[in-house]
Point group: C2
Chain length 152, copies 2
């Protein structure tokens, strides 16, 4: 089951200008993350010019999508843990304290699927692990330590 409301579309207006995932940033990527059962999912297709060389995406776009996907996933996991439903209240906003990316194989430029899982859900800290698939294979994994913005 994938929820049809992207968590980024429920961030408060003041937190919706991020180049990666802000719905109000007209220059940005506008990554969208959805609850999917116990996991959280983001899909994104890099542009041909996001090459690192040839047909593979450059490392920065992989890190960027894992970063914002982790922020969205943290919000989804925290809300679920606290009995809240995405779309019914403004989402909490998480920022990144630490990001780790392992580049396992070249990531083909084309549709990418990211699946996030909660490794830890605390009152302010959520740790998200991510598998990124391109061309049907896991080409990168991520681990992000996310911290909830108070009042956000």
């Amino acid at each position: 089951m994938t929820d049809h409301i992207a968590v980024q579309d429920t961030y408060p207006d003041d937190f919706s200008h991020c180049f990666g995932c802000g719905r109000h940033n007209t220059s940005g990527y506008r990554f969208k993350t959805y609850q999917a059962g116990e996991t959280a999912c983001t899909e994104y297709s890099p542009a041909p010019y996001h090459t690192g060389g040839g047909e593979s995406a450059y490392g920065g776009i992989i890190a960027s999508v894992i970063d914002c996907h982790s922020a969205g996933s943290a919000a989804i996991f925290w809300m679920r843990e606290n009995g809240m439903i995405v779309g019914t209240v403004p989402s909490p906003r998480f920022v990144t304290a630490r990001l780790e990316v392992d580049y396992i194989a070249p990531t083909p430029i084309g549709p990418l699927q990211l699946t996030g899982q909660a490794q830890e859900i605390g009152e302010r800290k959520v740790i998200v692990t991510t598998e990124l698939r391109g061309g049907g294979e896991v080409t990168a994994t991520g681990r992000a330590v996310m911290v909830r913005v108070l009042g956000g």
Copy 2:
């Protein structure tokens, strides 16, 4: 002492299309990394639309510049270790196996200075640590495991 030749300008043509640092990518950031004594330095100013919110840069652009800076730094350190001078031969090309970024404080949108140091220099693997300064303070640190492309 800062060398005046950017290592990215000495990559072979086939490895110069990266969105982050390729001199042939007209859509990209064209990050430039220079030898500076025992260290390697990159400077970059994010655009106002690279916001994560307000006056701070979003996490993905920080990860992107640390990633390409680490690839450039790895090439510089490996060449120095092997008695080569940047600009006199085509540079070796390194790709990222693992990237770690610690976001210590919000990074202001404005001129950023990255300084890389070699933690380990092997025959194929170079580990680069980075301090990123914005507004005169270290706002993020990085550690990247870089692997040399054979034939690159």
